[in-house]
């Protein structure tokens, strides 16, 4: 019997030593397990689980939060909501850039990839295989073009090839189904691409097209987004003997206009205006047609012509606005002239007449470094006209409304200063005619752009920021701290009358989205809470309170069994 027991114990020990997953290795070092902050899509909240390469999409049919996992490539490094989707739920999707994986112990190599993950269930994600392990996504405001590039800091620290070209970028046209990647290596003048600016459709010699302006230290590169085979144009921003390394900080586009037979006005070439850090001038690049005699093969149909517009002091912000002027000799006809309004951090407002290069300086009662512009009425004028608000983000207690129409004539009579506490951040809602101004941790002002009145809201608790969910007029204040009962307020502001209401949740709010509802059906909203395991709460959008609330916690574990081989990478079976 003794030998029997010994044999059994030995067999048990051997049994315990058998492990079928001897090849398990931990996830990629440097990545925190779980999900990061939620990304707001028009019809869902998305969480990217970076450590294992999954997107978790959460909606709330019937008020119960529901999550599903979508597999993407390994090591996602950049992601964002498709900008086009924010205005059109039909293409509601998330863009995710994955750097893939390089060969290693227990790890199979995987190439880099770009994933378009639709929010709608039942639609497979779209994958683009990439030739380089880029780690930055930049999308045009319209959402049509996506640029993939390397961060100025270099390739991804997680996974990178031993050799890479930092000037290589890829352009993808999302509006063209099946479009191939346009991979280019930009001409470099001892620097790399740092920022990307997208033009609206410009009136170029061979037809309307979109341009990409790539900002680097001391030069910019113009890329024709509609003609992949045409080489880019590199424009130095300073002379060879100039020690300054000017870099474009803000780029505005005058789209130009074709010849107008009715006004007998000639064609107006598109112009790119650059505000460069370290320069007291505005740089204008006029895109003039290439002379017909010059060969066009592989080259652009335009050439940039550089000029400098002096504004005295280094400009901090600028806006481009149109003004109608009577045509000389034809009093009944007006022509559109472009003006550049520049704020240079001083108590001066500079207006540049771009057609005549005339500069006008108008004194203000305070300094300003930020400009907001919109079209709307004023207290004295019901007509919708271009107007501006200038304020200082570096302190100061005033702001100034500017009526841009006939500003050159009326000068200071078009300025209306108001008192405004020091500004931390602003959230302009032009469609509502409001600007929300955040002064500090617990104070908010609401500026009515039409009546030019200022209302204040005080918060008992410090809060994070204001959110306006896509498709919803209401505003929400997220990031509030806990009250003395351990609950986290989620205040709602009604912008029409500034009435407030609030729900008190069990965790801090990070992001929120109003989910689309069928006609007549109850609408639900989803609130994302911080936490690496994924935590959301669904609320009745009409009456958001605790009674209707239901939470889902542990989103990263959804369908975990099906995904286990990815969650435990390196598993050898």
């Amino acid at each position: 019997m003794k030998r029997l027991l010994i044999s059994l114990l030995a067999s048990g020990a051997l049994l315990g030593a058998c492990d079928w997953k001897e090849g398990r290795t931990p996830p990629t070092p440097g990545i925190e397990p779980g999900v990061g902050s939620a990304v707001v899509l028009p019809s869902a909240l998305a969480f990217v689980e970076q450590s294992v390469g999954f997107v978790h999409l959460v909606d709330a049919p019937g008020g119960l939060p529901r999550a599903r996992a979508v597999e993407i490539g390994r090591n996602p490094v950049a992601w964002q909501a498709d900008r086009a989707a924010l205005a059109n739920t039909a293409t509601d999707r998330l863009l995710v850039l994955c750097v893939g994986e390089i060969d290693g112990p227990g790890v199979d190599p995987e190439g880099a990839s770009l994933w378009l993950v639709p929010a709608a269930a039942g639609t497979a994600p779209q994958k683009y295989d990439l030739p380089s392990r880029w780690n930055r996504i930049t999308q045009s405001p319209s959402g049509r073009h996506v640029i993939l590039s390397f961060q100025p800091g270099g390739p991804s620290k997680l996974v990178s090839d031993s050799v890479f070209s930092p000037n290589q970028i890829a352009v993808l046209d999302l509006n063209t189904p099946g479009a191939m990647l346009d991979v280019r290596t930009l001409r470099a003048l001892n620097d790399i691409p740092r920022d990307f600016f997208f033009s609206p459709t410009l009136s170029l010699p061979e037809g309307p097209r979109d341009l990409l302006v790539v900002a680097s230290d001391a030069y910019v590169t113009l890329v024709d987004l509609n003609n992949p085979k045409r080489s880019e144009i590199t424009v130095p921003l300073s002379l060879a003997d100039d020690p300054r390394r000017l870099r474009a900080a803000q780029v505005l586009f005058d789209p130009g206009a074709p010849e107008d037979p009715s006004t007998m006005l000639p064609r107006r070439d598109p112009v790119v205006y650059l505000r460069a850090s370290g320069s007291s001038d505005i740089i204008a690049l006029s895109l003039t047609p290439v002379p017909a005699a010059e060969p066009m093969v592989g080259k652009s149909d335009f050439l940039p012509s550089l000029s400098q517009l002096a504004v005295g002091i280094e400009p901090k912000d600028m806006v481009l606005y149109p003004e109608l002027e009577p045509v000389v000799g034809q009093a009944d006809k007006k022509v559109l002239r472009m003006r550049l309004l520049v704020s240079n951090g001083s108590a001066q407002l500079v207006v540049l007449h771009l057609d005549t290069s005339r500069t006008l300086t108008i004194p203000m009662v305070h300094s300003a470094d930020r400009i907001l512009t919109w079209n709307g009425p004023s207290p004295d004028e019901t007509e919708v006209r271009p107007r501006a608000l200038l304020f200082n983000t570096q302190g100061g207690g005033k702001a100034t409304f500017v009526d841009l129409n006939r500003l050159s004539d009326l000068k200071t009579r078009n300025l209306t200063p108001i008192d405004l506490a020091p500004v931390n951040d602003v959230l302009p809602l032009y469609d509502l005619g409001l600007v929300f101004v955040q002064h500090g941790g617990s104070r908010l002002s609401v500026l009515n752009l039409a009546s030019r009145t200022l209302s204040s809201l005080n918060f008992a608790l410090s809060f994070g920021s204001i959110r306006k969910p896509p498709g919803q007029n209401g505003l929400w204040v997220v990031g509030s701290n806990a009250d003395n009962k351990g609950r986290f307020p989620l205040p709602q502001l009604n912008p029409s009358n500034l009435s407030t209401s609030e729900a008190r949740l069990d965790a801090r709010s990070d992001e929120l989205v109003l989910l689309p509802a069928a006609p007549g059906a109850k609408a639900w909203m989803l609130v994302a809470h911080p936490g690496a395991d994924g935590y959301v709460t669904a609320l009745d959008a009409a009456t958001p309170d605790r009674a209707s609330a239901h939470s889902l916690r542990g989103i990263v574990a959804v369908d975990l069994q099906e995904r286990l081989s990815r969650v435990l990478p390196g598993e050898k079976q």
Binding site: M1, R3, L4, S7, L8, A10, S11, G12, L14, L15, G16, A17, C18, D19, W20, K21, R24, P27, P33, G34, E49, S51, V52, L64, P65, A67, L505, D506, G531, A532, D533, T537, R546, A549, H550, S551, L552, R553, G554, I555, V556, A557, V558, D559, L560, Q561, E562, L564, V567, L568
Partner: protein, 283 residues
């Protein structure tokens, strides 16, 4: 064959070796291992023979002899019976069960390809269907624990199985009893997962059933011990109904807290082969 199976087989063989060893130690025919108790010809090859009491007083009176040996052999031979394991009415056993986790879903809660647990079984003989063929019925309890891992750390599964069981046993020899077993009942599973900042858990009941067959090896009690020992080696299939696992954060359902759902991680359950080692007592 896996090494632990070799070990188990060695354990089983150990029984046979011990049995053979006992047989070799048993009295050879004609050898006076005891003054007045020669082995019966049909006695089982076991040292148990020595424990058979001798009924010398029942022999008819005979004149005194100078040869006590001859005198004794003239006595009527007592009828020697084994300890009669067939007369077992109750059976209680400590069970070690090994289950092969063939279902991939089980990997979430187990790092191993199999899981071992312990339990108890109580049986009572209810009917003798035929000579040497008996039916017993009783209850069976099994406890099983496994450990696994996921994104944030450990996972675990703890199950308690309660089943009514019936055993059909055939007495091939008094020491060798093949049998078949059927069990039906329920299994309570408790699943746990360590989250980023909290622990998640879920419990669920599922129907349970198993079918198995095996060999039982009996050992008679030594001396006047009233119980018999046995070792059963049993193999079969066990099945558990599928249950959806939706672990929630502990304390999330208490009053005043917004109701919290857990994520559906998948389903657990299915048909799995099992191996049981049963250490029993008969009485």
């Amino acid at each position: 064959m896996k090494s632990w199976m070799m070990g188990a087989l060695a354990a089983v063989l150990q029984i046979q070796v011990a049995t053979a060893y006992a047989q070799s130690n048993a009295a050879a025919p004609g050898q006076p291992v005891a003054v007045d108790a020669p082995p019966a010809e049909d006695a089982p090859p076991s040292e148990m023979v020595n424990a058979v009491p001798v009924q010398a007083a029942t022999a008819p009176a005979s004149p005194p002899s100078r040869y006590p040996y001859f005198a004794s052999v003239q006595q009527e031979r007592p009828k020697v019976e084994p300890e009669s394991p067939r007369e077992t009415r109750f059976f209680t056993a400590f069970v070690v069960q090994n289950t092969q986790l063939l279902n991939k879903d089980a990997q979430l809660f187990s790092k191993e390809a199999d899981a071992s647990g312990a339990g108890l079984m109580l049986l009572m003989r209810v009917r003798e269907l035929a000579p040497k063929l008996t039916v017993s019925a009783g209850v069976d309890w099994q406890h099983l624990e496994t450990n696994g891992a996921w994104t944030f750390g450990s996972t675990g599964m703890r199950s308690n199985t309660f089943a009514a069981t019936a055993v059909l046993r055939y007495e091939h020899a008094w020491w060798l009893r093949p049998f078949a077993r059927l069990a039906l009942g329920g299994r309570n599973n408790h699943f746990s997962m360590l989250g980023a900042s909290s622990s998640y858990s879920d419990s669920a009941w599922a129907p349970f059933g198993s079918v198995s067959a095996g060999l039982g090896i009996m050992r008679a009690p030594a001396g006047a011990m009233p119980v018999g020992l046995s070792f059963d080696l049993e193999a079969g299939l066990s099945g558990t109904g599928a249950v959806s696992v939706k672990p929630t954060v502990g304390g999330s359902q208490k009053d005043g807290v917004i109701p919290v759902s857990g994520p559906g991680v998948g389903k657990q359950g299915g048909l799995e082969p099992m191996l049981r080692f049963v250490f029993g007592l008969h009485f």
